[in-house]
Symmetry: C2
Subunit: 301 residues, 2 copies
């Protein structure tokens, strides 16, 4: 699973940072989280294909104004697969209105779901959990949570117990007992290791520190968090519904995440070292998001 | 006067070309022609200030979807001066609707004028002439036309004729006769050269070749013209309301312009040499627009 930062600015673009958008590439599927102005061009620069799902955190312009152009371009290319868009109340009207105003026709199915907190999207191998954060308008944080995978299969054990290669192996690997031709019952525990944990990636969107993000991020492999302003401007950050690096780091520590990546960075910081140092004092495994940077998230050992 | 190309792609952005927008910087004023998605960030990259006037050629998404973000950013910065936006029918509804949808408040005066062809904007030193072109939807081409400036003033002649330095010089330079204290009448012809020509810049927007662009571009210092596809694809270009390099060059020649710059370039051309050669066969003084390239337009001699 790869995280590609398409835009890491807060509120206003800068020369080095585009407006907010994060892509997750997972087994041939591309999930986009937020879609600020210019996202379609950032996707080209990142050599990404078009996305299958888009999750919008909130209805502020800097997080959604890339949607019309992206939808228009995907329509021109007649992408040929459906796109699901999830977001808080207002997202459906925004998309429907803008299509009418700019007068273009969708040439592929777009399914828009206005959602609240909960399991908002269930797939075979993962689901997306949304929680309300604490911003100036309703903002959903999102967690991509992979289900446990079947444990490691030991073929040598299967052979030694007389289980012939084929459908019985598959059945054992998926946790089922099997009966051999000689009537012997084989339990998967004899041949398959314990289930292996999936990965968990959490993105806050715009938020002040709150219980909801600590809960949503619990034991995540990666937390991507809004640290718009540095610690000295914490009060200002919180006033406008954002956080500071130390606040992000405190949440990362409390939630026991493996890694913290800071994003939604104000244009006043040409060099983000200050913010990194402030966060690393509390949570050493912190990095700063940069436009077009990629992070691999491996399966936990 | 400086022309800064902010976006030179046609229809879809590419890695090297943003969506259409051209800035003209003239005596501290910035005029924008079209405002595709990502224009506000291109303005930052070009180290431009915010614009005073925006002229929209037509209501296709690739020419207008940068407006909402730009207006929102200018509102956040409380720019403190009015912005005039000119465009064909639909531009006012587009802006008013999008402000409602994205729910932001303008913090500075925005004056929107829905226009047809004619003199659409008159300033002290120049005016903007608009003409209907031939695209798939109504598209206005624009000419920025400077008025003649007063002729060159020769101070040594003024002194030799006994005109004291001061308000009389100013009056002579602006074409008025003046009376000296001794009753002598001095004509400006004795001291001031003939009026000097202003400059003329023409931008087609999206168009097929048509009489209107040849007329609008007559004797221009610079014609910026839509050459979306190369000569071999002329039929396709025309079908979708665009032109090819040879068609642009033919218009430049017919209209007796000094220089042609081609823009609105399809993403299929990684290297635009082919298009330049095709145009230069007919009109040698042709250049290809590149994002963030600047062109100075000097006063004609």
């Amino acid at each position: 699973m790869k995280i590609i930062f398409l835009g890491t600015a807060g509120t206003l673009p800068t020369i080095n940072r585009n407006l907010p958008s994060i892509a997750i590439k997972r087994k041939g599927e591309i999930l986009l989280f937020d879609c600020g102005e210019g996202t379609q061009r950032q996707m080209l620069k990142a050599k990404l294909g078009y996305c299958n799902k888009i999750f919008i955190t909130h209805m502020h312009g800097d997080h959604i104004l890339g949607l019309p152009g992206l939808l228009q371009t995907m329509s021109l290319f007649q992408v040929g697969f459906p796109l699901k868009i999830f977001g808080p109340e207002g997202i459906a009207k925004f998309i429907n209105d803008i299509i009418k105003i700019v007068k273009f026709k969708l040439t592929f199915p777009v399914i828009i779901k206005e959602i609240s907190e909960g399991k908002v999207c269930k797939e075979k191998e993962y689901y997306i959990q949304a929680s309300w954060m604490d911003h100036t308008i309703p903002n959903l944080g999102y967690a991509l949570i992979e289900y446990e995978r079947p444990g490691k299969f030991y073929p040598e054990k299967a052979i030694s117990l007389g289980v012939p290669e084929g459908p019985l192996w598959f059945s054992l690997q998926h946790g089922n007992e099997v009966a051999l031709a000689n009537g012997k019952i084989i339990s998967p525990r004899c041949i398959v290791g314990p289930p292996r944990k999936g990965r968990k990636i959490v993105y806050s969107g715009d938020t002040r520190p709150c219980e909801a993000i600590s809960n949503l991020a619990k034991n995540a492999d990666l937390l991507i968090y809004d640290t718009t302003l540095d610690d000295k401007l914490t009060e200002k950050a919180n006033k406008f519904g954002h956080s500071s690096p130390s606040q992000g780091a405190t949440i990362a520590k409390k939630a026991n995440v493996k890694q913290l990546i800071m994003t939604h960075i104000s244009g006043r910081y040409n060099n983000a070292d200050l913010l990194i140092h402030q966060a690393q004092n509390t949570f050493p495994n912190t990095e700063m998001a940069q436009d077009l940077a990629e992070f691999k998230v491996l399966y936990p050992k």
